[in-house]
Structure formats: structure tokens, C-alpha cells
Assembly symmetry: C2
């Protein structure tokens, strides 16, 4: 099951490897809202448990209605999936892409999905010295020879956010070349005004992906969605297998979007805590954290005496997981950490301070 | 979302169309264990709700271990999926089938999945006058020109069960011709000794499908699995997207298989109640029920004055759903009903008696 182990959040494998109990692991490797699941959603899940004896609504009609209302778009322009990753694999297959452009570093499933669908992959290297920014000239050149472009905004694992007006410019450029952009906004909830989801229905070649996994802290339930114009939706829906989304995920999704207080608190908590982590990480000799617009931070190890494998091992033995970023095609000097609650962030910072005082 | 509406259990659409409340619908259209979900599983779901904030185990290691133990097979020979239907769509795509043989009538997703994967479909008509049995000679001839064969045993919607020794003979015949058999046993729990799942790992071209949906009454959670020999498993697993099964389905699956009392009760309840329904249906002038080896019964309307659409409408207005079988490529005289609890079965029987007394 090769691909499955290349992601954060694999507390099961870590528990087996380091003889830890799953519940004692402090997991900085998966980017989940530190506030945990909303109380309202938790209660709704309890109330809906009895309904698992019924088939879920295959059309997810009420959920698509709630999502449509939240983003002010027509529910007919939305497709829901068994997590955003299911949709990432579904899109290049259904649109029969031949050549896909993928920035490097970014989320590894774009590449896996493209290859699985039979497409060739062209890579666009993001350069460290520009803070992993997209070079417009290089992008436009690369777009000439592909039919699909995966763009993660904010990008995973760099945390860099492109402002809406830049993405619109890229979308225009892609449209001129007949390239479909798959814009993955699963980490944009902290900067909702930069999202293009409400615009997707009007742009010819744009598919916007979102998820409940991260911001609403329910990766265990699997729930993601996409929005696009009617023509793309028609092509994507043509042979969609029935019952992609389980009934509890549907119920949780509907309640999540109505919990305005949770949404507001999640945004302000992460912004504050992300600032704290960035400031404290910067003070540690040997570490270079990159500024982030979302709930995780990419960090470079400047000290030559230690690489990420070694750091990962030291921390894992203490029950702390970080995300080794070497399979993002970064060097063995990069790791990613999620923003968690203050006490947990402090514990990680203390461990890092101790480790880097030694090296 | 064309395909999605061609199945039983769509209480959501029926509620909208007939102005019913979802919870007041008496649903004979979906084939779910009438005992409902096991109490042990329900408690386990409650206990595991808090874990939806973590990613599910992408490998479903503990669940595959439990399934392996239950069927006495190696967990490495098992793949779990987001419902059996997800796997039905996955198999012909991953094995790049060119031509698929499908009996008629049978579960409609075999055809949908084959067409979606780009394969051509060849149909093998099961004849009503032989009780919808498989004709060995016609089957062997048809197997010569295909590379995959979907076989549902017991068959949906006919309820007919092929004994194990007949299926082994078919598997031999398929193996000689290089044909992969996808043997869908999602309704075999009432006749476990006829299952080929423990043999699948030793047979070259056989994939056996099972589900938790029906027998364990949890269609809302989405959980199915397949077993096959190591070579087939390797090909199927090669580019499997991560996190196919949500964490609650994994927890429920593990507990289900350990609940021996529930399993025993479910089997004996359905056998008794299926016999009762068959006997009572036979007494109604105008109806011809077919003997069934599982938890549903196919019924033919003999009376010319009423067809299935009309019968469906009359019952739906009273809040009772039956499964119109015309999209199984049967004539407009067939419907399928699930075996439910005695009081509900009696209510349906009463309605049918009244209706057919009129026509």
C-alpha cells in the first residue's frame, strides 16, 4: 500500500514503530484545527448515529444545499466526495487529462492521482530563495504544454498564500490555453476572502476544491467538495458511483457550516497561535521557519549536525510526531508542524530548544 | 446524477416526491438486516465518535486483521472499500477490463462500473422459466469472448443461490479462459458455508466481494471488502487512493464480526421471516413470489390489471416503498421486497391483499 504511508497523521504506523499508545501521541504531523470538532457537530453526530442503518442520500442534497448557501453558489455546481483526496483522484480521471502541471513542493496526491489516471506529469519547481513563490513567466511557459494544472492555495507544505487577484490572473492565463486549473483551497479557511469558490461557477476552466477535514477537524469522517461551472460539473458527474459520502459526514457537514461561533474562534485562535509559534521558532538557533497563511508552518533545519530523519526519530521516541517533508521533494532539512493549542505548542518548542542546544 | 436514482433505499427522493417524512417511511426497497444494527456496534460507534478528529488508518490494518480472522484468511489478501459499490467500480478500472460478462437481471452497478471503466459489456440472459438460473452451456460459450465476469451469489434481485460446488466449477471454467470472476457475495451471510471467500486466496482469477452494509445493517457508514490471491491484490492496490474508509466504519466493522450472538440471531430471524413472507405472498391471488436464499424476495405480478409502477405509487402514497425491478431489465411486472420484522411484513401483506382483491 505504497502511497498510503507518505502522509501526515499516520499515528497508527508511528504507534507500532515506536511502541506508543495511539492516544498518547502528540501529532504535529496532520494539519487539523487545534480547537477540535465543534460541540454542535459532535452532538449532531450522536443524534444521527441511529441513521447509519439507512442508506445515505446518494445525492447529498441537503449537504450541497448547505454548502451552496455558505458560499452563495448554486448547489447544482457542487460535487461532494469521500474526502478531498477522493476528488483529487477523480478529477484527472474523469476529464481524461493527458499532461498535468504540478508545482514542487506541494501535496503529493496531485502527482499520484495524475499518474494513476494515466497522465504525464510536468513539474514546476518553486524556489526556496523566493520563499517558494510561483514565478509567473515560468508558469505561463509551462502552461503551454499541459491540459491540467494543480494549484494548492495556500500551498502545502509552504503555507504561502497567493492573493485572489493573482489566482484570477493565472486562471485567465490557463483559460486562454485551454488548461483546467484544479485549485485546492483546503487550507484557505483562515483567509476566506481570498477564496475563488464563489467565482468558480463563472470561470470556464476552474475547479475549486474544499474540505471539512482540516478546518472542521473531522478527517476521520472523510468529507470534501468541489465547485465548478455547469459544463465541468456535468462531465464530472456523468458516471459518478453512488453513495460516495457516508451519512454521518453529511450530517456533520451541514451543522459545521452553521456554527458561526466555532468558525470565528477557529480563525482567530490559529492566527494568534501561528504568530506565537513563528516568533518562538525564529528564536531557536538552527531553525528557519517560513511565514504561513494557514494552520501549519514549514521549518528548515539550518544546522548541519542534524537532518530531519534524525529529528523525527528523537521527537517520535518522545511521542511527538512532526511531518518529515522529504517526500515533498524537499531536501532532508525540511519539516512541517501543525499549529496546535498553546500548551502543546510550548511542549514542542521546549523539545526543539533542547535538541538544537545540543547540535 | 443519473445513476444514483436507480437503487433501492432512496427514502430521500421518495420523501420529497410523496410529501412523506423520512422517518415515517416503511422501506422494503433496501435489503438491510431487519434486526437493525447490533447494540455492541452502536456502543462502539458512540465510544469512537471522539476519534473523528484523527485521520483514519489508511491501511485499515486492525479491520483487515478482524476480517482475516473471521474468514480464516491472511489480512494481506483483503482490500477494504467505501462500500462494496466503490470496489465494484474500482476493480474493472484497475484490471483494465476490455469486455465484461454480466447476467441479466442482476445488480445494476456491474454494468455502470464496466461502462465507466471503458469496457464493453456482454449480457447473459437468465430465463424466468428456469427460475432465473445460470445455463452452464450458454455461460461457457459467453466466457470465451470476455475477460471479466460479474456473478452475484445469491443473485440480486432473484434471491437465487448457486451452491459452492457450482461456483467452483464456473471459476475453473473461467480460469481456463483467463477470465477474472468478480463474485459478489454481499447477500451470502445467511448461507456462509456456500461462500468462496476463504478459497479466493488460492484461486488464480477470483475476486470475492463482501459488505457490512446489508447483514450488519450499516449502509450509512459505507463498508465493503474483497479477498483475492496476492497477485490480484498487488495489481488492485497499486495506486489505491489513501483513506478510503472512514474511522467509524473501521471501528464498526471490527466489533460487528465479534458479535456472534447478533450474527446467529440475524440468520435465524431472516430464515424464519423469509419463509413466512413467501408462504403468505403465495396465497395472494395475482402474485408469484420466487423462493429466495437471502433477505429479500422477488415477486411477479400475474394480474394484468396492474403493473409495478401503479403498485409502487399506491404503496408509496401510504408510506411504503417497494423496489420497482424494471431497471433490472425485467418487465414491468416485477418488484422486490426486503424481509423486515413480523409486524411490518404483516402490514405490507395486508396492503397487498387489499390491493389485489380489487384488481
Amino acid at each position: 500500500m505504497g502511497l498510503n504511508n507518505n502522509h501526515g497523521g499516520n499515528i497508527y504506523e508511528a504507534a507500532r514503530k515506536y511502541c506508543l499508545r495511539e492516544e498518547e501521541i502528540l501529532d504535529f504531523s496532520s494539519n487539523i484545527n487545534p480547537l477540535g470538532i465543534s460541540n454542535k457537530v459532535f452532538r449532531a453526530l450522536k443524534d444521527n448515529l441511529k441513521d447509519v442503518v439507512k442508506y445515505p442520500d446518494s445525492d447529498s442534497a441537503k449537504l450541497r444545499e448547505a454548502i451552496g448557501k455558505y458560499h452563495s453558489i448554486n448547489p447544482e455546481n457542487i460535487i461532494v466526495g469521500n474526502g478531498a483526496t477522493e476528488l483529487i483522484h477523480y478529477i484527472p480521471r474523469m476529464l481524461i487529462s493527458k499532461k498535468v502541471l504540478i508545482p514542487v513542493p506541494t501535496f503529493s496526491e496531485y502527482e499520484a492521482a495524475s499518474i494513476a489516471s494515466g497522465a504525464k506529469v510536468k513539474y514546476l519547481r518553486l524556489k526556496e530563495d523566493s520563499g517558494f513563490g510561483l514565478d509567473e513567466k515560468a508558469l505561463n511557459k509551462a502552461l503551454n504544454s499541459v491540459d491540467m494544472f494543480f494549484l494548492c492555495n495556500p500551498n502545502n507544505p509552504t503555507g504561502q498564500l497567493l492573493p485572489k487577484k493573482s489566482v484570477i490572473k493565472i486562471a485567465d492565463s490557463a483559460e486562454k490555453r485551454g488548461v483546467v486549473i484544479v485549485l485546492d483551497e483546503v487550507f484557505i479557511d483562515y483567509n476566506e476572502k481570498e477564496s475563488l469558490i464563489s467565482d468558480a461557477v463563472k470561470i470556464k476552466n476552474l475547479i475549486v476544491l474544499r474540505a471539512f477535514t482540516k478546518f472542521f477537524a473531522m478527517p476521520g469522517l472523510r468529507l470534501g467538495y468541489l465547485a465548478a461551472n455547469s459544463l465541468l460539473i456535468k462531465r464530472l458527474n456523468e458516471r459518478r458511483p453512488p453513495w460516495p459520502v457516508n451519512s454521518l459526514a453529511q450530517a456533520a457537514g451541514i451543522i459545521s457550516l452553521s456554527d458561526k461561533a466555532y468558525i470565528k474562534d477557529g480563525i482567530s485562535y490559529v492566527k494568534k497561535e501561528s504568530g506565537f509559534l513563528l516568533k518562538e521558532l525564529s528564536k531557536i538557533d538552527g531553525l528557519l521557519p517560513f511565514p504561513s497563511s494557514t494552520n501549519f508552518i514549514l521549518v528548515k533545519i539550518k544546522n548541519d549536525g542534524i537532518n530531519v530523519k534524525k529529528l523525527y526519530n528523537i521527537l517520535a521516541k518522545k511521542g511527538i510526531l512532526i511531518r518529515d517533508c522529504s517526500n515533498f521533494a524537499l531536501s532532508e532539512r525540511f519539516f512541517r508542524i501543525a499549529v496546535k493549542k498553546r500548551d502543546k505548542n510550548k511542549r514542542l518548542l521546549n523539545e526543539l530548544r533542547n535538541i538544537f542546544a545540543e547540535y
